[in-house]
Symmetry: C2
Subunit: 186 residues, 2 copies
């Protein structure tokens, strides 16, 4: 699975988004470490080890992990899959991380668009984000632009290193029923 | 840790709530299996094995798992702990299961009160439920009575075996700051 953005206009900027392989890990782990150590956007343990990060980030089927690559350099990564097991498995979720050096170039937007297409293509009913830090306004704006709305906000649920306790949004994007309205994933 | 309800009026009905030990598992596993196979209240895999259930239900520190016992018989069980790692770990969560035979007697309410006291006593800022099935009106009513409010509802996020797709509530109970308003758990 890969998407070459150049020329299509769909996946800006000009990056390739493709399935993660273990060869990518030496470039993916520093991005994860950077994001979790900053501790301002993810409810992950900032002291997470590489092994713990691998287990959390690299999805097993039916989930998927991808990388956004430009000239062999990993700029960002995303994981996607069912949000909950059993009777909740028809709703998808996804997470995105972009290297600090590559921010502001639309890599996160491209990864989110990719994840939405991935989930729609597999018949999920929608995509839910469980814990979007409300002070992460760039991410919230991207998600809203792509069709997510804030379902609710848990007040003070995130301890931000500079801002103190800020809220965590639950966000949801319901998909248009594509043909069979009761279609189930897989 | 144990609470004897008789005479206190705080933990009705007259059940003892105490920390789970592995000796309880032969009575706890049938309750979990019954609840997940009914598939009408939990987003757990209905085909979950005993080993998977043990890993999910029996919390490691700082979390805790308890049982509600009457005359040596386990009527229900609860687990509690931080809702998220890292910058989200000051908010608690909990889950409750009551044997079908023991429902309507206040066991779930007693377990929820116990979990709230447990979390308050450890300095958590509040308790969040991430996925309360909206058709589970008895549970929603108990939670609201005990101080939870619905933060938001993800439409159709739960595939109910009889009702079809129903919503999942996110519920939250913010605790009064007990002394130091910036106190952290543990």
């Amino acid at each position: 699975m890969s998407v070459v953005a150049a020329g299509t206009g769909d996946y800006r900027p000009c990056v390739q988004i493709r399935t993660f392989t273990d060869d990518d890990w030496p470039q993916v782990w520093p991005i994860i470490r950077q994001v979790v150590q900053a501790a301002d956007t993810f409810t992950y343990d900032p002291a997470m080890t590489a092994e713990e990060a691998y287990d959390i980030w690299v999805e097993k089927p039916p989930g998927s992990t991808v990388v956004a690559v430009e000239d062999g350099r990993v700029l960002g990564t995303a994981k996607m899959g069912p949000n909950r097991p059993g009777p909740g498995s028809h709703v998808s979720t996804a997470s995105f991380m972009v290297s600090a050096e590559a921010r502001g170039r639309g890599v996160g937007t491209a990864l989110c668009r990719f994840a939405l297409d991935w989930a729609r293509g597999r018949g999920y009913a929608g995509m839910q984000f469980n814990a979007v830090v409300e002070s992460n306004k760039a991410a919230v704006a991207v998600y809203q632009k792509l069709g997510f709305r804030v379902i609710g906000t848990v007040p003070g649920a995130f301890a931000h290193p500079e801002l103190g306790r800020v809220g965590l949004h639950i966000m949801y994007h319901e998909f248009e029923p594509a043909g069979a309205p009761e279609s189930h994933p897989r």
